[in-house]
Symmetry: C2
């Protein structure tokens, strides 16, 4: 199967123009790329006011409305070479209706969503040869439509999609091309030899700190401030590492201690799932907790703490009582 | 070993004059029994204002200060025939200093505290021949020193102590004597053939509703309002039943469905541990969650949800950050 590549000046579509999609989209536009934004609820507000990025660590900037190409209907966009998908993972049920109408035969799909299973869903729907995965390491909130408050970090990691159970791929040119797109817009971007390893490394953090953070409504510093909290965090990390290992992704022995030590430097950090809970929004439970749990069950890996936290997160999910 | 008995007009000491100790103590005093109260932090207030019981379901009443026999030092009480222990189980470290000085050779000890292990601790300290266990089924709060707000229920179950692993005892006369004391003061009291069965039946309820109630700060109706909540409640009940079975206490097959159905009739009920959490007080974690978990571990019973909830409760315990 020939690997799909990007042209030199790709047409880029962004699906999901919230905090993450808006932030990277605005940076790509500012750098002169041909970016087309698909919006739903925020369409009118962004049409009127453009996109504004406020940042605590870098220069803020705005993209005025007349420099934006925005659309409400996915059939109206020019067929993109690359679709950057930054939906909340709770919205993946809309993949087909949002992405399907804009595809041409060689459109590449890059998901930078949270959690596990997004690439698999895209591959099932649209063909695995199109799919590239990425992770955004960024602390960011959308404070109003088109208004993005950037708190810290911002780098991206991208890697080619590999079906679970297959051997690791070598980086392919399209992944380097995508990384160059980010770099050309001022965003650090690393290329992953093994996307699955990257995903699991991030999950080792996300499972305890998003899971416990949302369920207990506690920031990272509180989770790490007691023996009981440390015990739970380490156990959830250990369970994530065990699932990863059963999937063929072996993480280094010091992963837990490195992540705990790094997190202790972050102060009172609220995970995205805790922020969503406080805002009364749907939680990314399936992508961050449910899908890893289902993999564990398929592979016969005992994950007692993850199983319990998953049910508790479903129990407190604001979407459950909507 | 001859079984200790009560005299016809026993001298009764009450250790722990909070909501539960104050409520039953006041009823025993009102009925004319010879009751001596050991107080610590509330001593001055009760000395000045007596005890007042307000109730939503029965006639309220007061015991004025001049009808109370109250003490600050356990060495000052007349040696009691019966000690009624109603401390919070988080205060069991004080058993020796509070109870030791008041004992004579044939003093009987009745604990009506929450959770598992209280009788064992008393037996270890003072001799198992003295120990009787009981449970108070009462919804009650102490709103100020000596002021008790009684919401619902009030009956007591008592049974003779049996060491874990020993066969069930038959009710002995002293247990009937104690039950008559409660009955004579207007409190329904059942005699348990098997104290352990009674304890485990109560734990099957307490583990999910106190555990999840405190950790998630959710009342019973919210815990039962979603599939995820029902799954967790049932799993925790199943784990409790499995530990009980390993200890030789076989609970009926319909225990879970009966308790869930009954709880659904209770409305938005806040468990005592949830109330303690909201009030910033120490939680009875070890008695209700920790001791059952340790029994499970000794007996090699898998209790993944209980183990996780236990750590989460320790994590949010107000006493952990005192």
């Amino acid at each position: 199967m020939p690997t799909l590549q990007l042209p030199a000046q790709p047409v880029i579509a962004i699906v999901g123009v919230g905090a993450v999609g808006g932030y990277y989209g605005a940076k790509l536009i500012r750098a002169g790329h041909d970016v087309h934004l698909l919006l739903r609820s925020d369409y009118q507000a962004v049409r009127a006011g453009g996109i504004r990025v406020q940042s605590e660590i870098e220069q803020g900037f705005s993209i005025p409305p007349d420099q934006l190409k925005i659309y409400r209907d996915p059939g109206d966009l020019p067929k993109p070479d690359l679709v950057l998908i930054a939906l909340k993972a709770t919205g993946n049920g809309a993949y087909e209706s949002l992405i399907g109408p804009m595809l041409k035969d060689d459109t590449i799909l890059l998901t930078i969503q949270n959690g596990l299973g997004n690439e698999d869903q895209l591959a099932d729907l649209f063909g695995e040869e199109r799919v590239v995965g990425g992770m955004a390491f960024v602390c960011i909130h959308r404070t109003a439509p088109g208004v993005i408050h950037h708190i810290d970090h911002g780098f991206v990691k991208v890697g080619d999609y590999i079906r679970p159970g297959r051997p690791s791929a070598q980086p392919v040119p399209r992944v380097e091309q995508i990384a160059d797109l980010f770099r050309s817009s001022g965003v650090r971007c690393d290329v992953l030899d093994d996307l699955r390893r990257g995903r699991w490394e991030k999950l080792v953090w996300n499972i305890p700190f998003n899971g416990l953070g949302a369920v207990l409504d506690l920031a990272t510093d509180r989770l790490l401030s007691t023996d009981a909290g440390m015990t739970l965090v380490r156990q959830l990390m250990q369970e994530a590492i065990a699932i990863a290992a059963a999937e063929g992704v072996s993480l280094p022995a010091d992963t837990i201690e490195r992540q705990v030590t790094h997190t202790a430097t972050m102060g009172a950090y609220l995970s995205s799932m805790q922020v969503d809970r406080r805002a009364g929004r749907a939680l990314e439970i399936e992508a961050i907790l449910g899908e890893p749990l289902r993999r564990a069950q398929l592979l016969n890996i005992a994950t007692p703490a993850l199983a319990t936290i998953y049910q508790m997160a479903r129990l407190i999910d604001p979407a459950a009582s909507m």
